[in-house]
């Protein structure tokens, strides 16, 4: 990682943190539980790193083992997180009256 690339990453980090705070603070408490499980799913994106670790040629056995565990962990995190969030959100329904009032 070159110095300029590092600074680029830092810029991205700063912007992402700022936007994270803006976005999250606007989610109503009605949806805080699904919010928690959705962001939980999103950090499963480390799967991407795990795939690279285990897939590149020349990875030795140690990496293969650690990497495969990491792939399984990351996938479980992603799939489980999105599915359970989807289940939760599927239950939120507006009343008939509420629908009409809109």
């Amino acid at each position: 990682m070159s110095g300029q690339a590092l600074l680029g990453n830092l810029a991205v980090l700063g912007l992402a943190v700022a936007i994270g705070f803006e976005l999250i603070s606007r989610v109503p408490s009605l949806l805080h539980t699904p919010l928690m499980s959705a962001t939980n799913a999103i950090h499963g994106v480390v799967l991407v790193g795990a795939m690279i670790a285990v897939g590149v040629s020349g990875a030795d056995t140690l990496i293969k083992i650690l990497g495969t565990i990491a792939v399984a962990f990351g996938t479980a995190n992603i799939v489980g997180g999105f599915v359970v969030t989807n289940r939760q959100l599927g239950m939120f329904r507006r009343s008939e009256r509420g629908k009409k009032e809109r």
Binding site: A5, G20, A50, M51, T75, G80
Partner: protein, 465 residues
């Protein structure tokens, strides 16, 4: 090719942002979750084309195993067990972040040097440290919530010292890796130490404080993912990790501020003070209360009430009584009553927990009204039915003092004409303090019962007439 992959990662990260943005509104939230999931799919598929990836076998094995476990557990879990579920997924995510960092270190650290190596290694160590704590801590939190953690195993004499020593050891070894040339084994030992640290950290904390711990560890896992992103110079990891870090931080703040205790006190108080998370204050037993039967409650609800507000709390979740409560709502609405739900943001054991439970019981979400929006309406309400809730309606919070809930905004149920509590005893709630509302014999009725049984009794009596 590699440009296309980077571009795909950027698109994925922007889709995460759009997805979270849509969580603002229950009408668009489900689409938002799917948007984020599509972003994830794009990132994963793009990764398959990374130059240098030749061995797909173990990727496929890992993905299959993970998908099966993740899907099945997500489909089966009860909504009341959401805190455990989040803890479990958080643990595997943190573990994955730490393992990725170790693997990447093993692969790359011989190939670079100079300042680049320094930054790279710092990112790796941060990810290992934070990810390892998050992994082991989440496992303990899961076990505590699931009730499978041995109750004796909380703390031992001199644990504070041991904690400091383990942490110091991990940091010292990390510095050695950073400035010397200790290799992968040293990093592996750091990972082991951080796992021990995670266990020691969460072990003494009471089960009821677990949601805060989980939310904090959620933020940790996000930070670990972002640090792995730095090590790999990968935008999608950096951005996604930052988003999760921000989310975990905000929710942790929300909970700890509504608990009226500072975060350090919650995390380290158990160890310092020695034992119980909240003192169970007894001694209200002697004061008389107005006890009621299910029939009494039913007649109050049907005879002279027009507007009714239900206040569900933690006890409702414990008793799995959400269906019974929504049944009661329907029966009362059939009789022309106005029924709404007042939802306190930290009722239950997880932020927004009650909303999910009531949605599961098919209560439309526009009847689930937030503290701020409903508090002025209690004065015009005939009957408030409080089911398995306690702290969130405790008027002591409004008085100055140093109770654990002082200053926490509470539902002003005392303003209503009548209040009915359904709970098993006069025992206090999470905060361990007595509720003066119980003893207002004029206004308040106590139905001592398990929430589910009590509600079913009331429902039967209402239907009978």
């Amino acid at each position: 090719m590699s440009y296309a992959i980077t571009a795909a990662y950027i698109v994925a990260a922007l889709l995460f942002i759009v997805g979270i943005r849509r969580l603002r509104n229950p009408e668009t939230a489900r689409i938002g979750n799917i948007t984020s999931a599509i972003g994830m799919l794009i990132a994963v598929v793009a990764t398959l084309f990374t130059p240098g990836i030749t061995d797909y076998l173990w990727i496929v094995v890992g993905i299959f195993a993970g998908s099966a476990v993740g899907y099945i557990s997500a489909e089966r879990v009860a909504m009341t067990a959401m805190p455990q579920m989040v803890a479990a997924f958080n643990g595997v995510g943190g573990g994955a972040a730490a393992l990725v960092a170790v693997s990447e270190f093993h692969r790359v650290h011989d190939l670079t040097h100079g300042p680049q190596l320094f930054v790279f290694t710092s990112a790796v160590l941060f990810s290992v440290l934070v990810g390892g704590v998050s992994f082991a801590g989440s496992v303990v939190a899961f076990a505590k919530l699931q009730g499978i953690w041995p109750a004796r195993l909380r703390s031992f004499p001199g644990q504070a010292l041991v904690n400091v020593l383990v942490f110091g050891g991990a940091v010292a070894l990390g510095i050695l890796v950073l400035v010397g040339d200790a290799g992968t084994p040293a990093v592996a030992i750091v990972l082991g130490l951080t796992a021990v640290l995670g266990i020691l950290f969460v072990m003494p904390i009471g089960g009821a404080d677990m949601p805060i711990v989980i939310s904090l560890l959620n933020a940790f896992t996000g930070l670990a993912a972002a640090a792995s992103g730095f090590a790999l110079s990968n935008y999608v990891l950096i951005i996604a990790g930052s988003l999760v870090g921000a989310s975990g931080t905000i929710l942790t703040q929300l909970m700890s501020s509504s608990l009226g205790r500072s975060l350090p006190k919650i995390l380290f108080g158990a160890l310092a003070g020695g034992g119980k998370a909240a003192a169970q204050e007894q001694g209200g037993e002697e004061k008389p209360v107005h006890t009621a039967s299910a029939e009494d409650v039913a007649s109050i609800l049907t005879a002279d009430a027009e507007s009714i507000i239900f206040v569900p709390g933690y006890g409702l979740a414990v008793a799995q009584a959400q269906k019974a409560l929504s049944g009661l709502m329907e029966a009362l609405e059939a009789q022309g009553k106005q029924v709404r739900f007042a939802i306190h943001p930290v009722a239950g054991r997880m932020p927004g927990h009650m909303n999910v439970l009531m949605a599961e019981a098919e209560v439309p979400y526009d009847k689930l009204i937030d503290l701020e929006d409903i508090n002025d309406d209690f004065a015009d309400t005939d009957v408030v039915l409080v089911v398995g809730a306690n702290d969130v309606v405790n008027p002591q919070a409004k008085e100055a003092g140093d109770t654990p809930i002082s200053g926490m905004p509470v539902l002003d149920v005392g303003a209503a004409r009548r209040v009915v509590f359904i709970k098993r005893s006069l025992a206090p709630g999470f905060a361990g303090i007595d509720n003066p509302l119980f003893y207002d014999e004029e206004k308040t009725m106590m139905l001592f019962s398990d929430a589910r049984e009590g509600l079913e009794g009331v429902l039967e009596a209402v239907k009978k007439g």
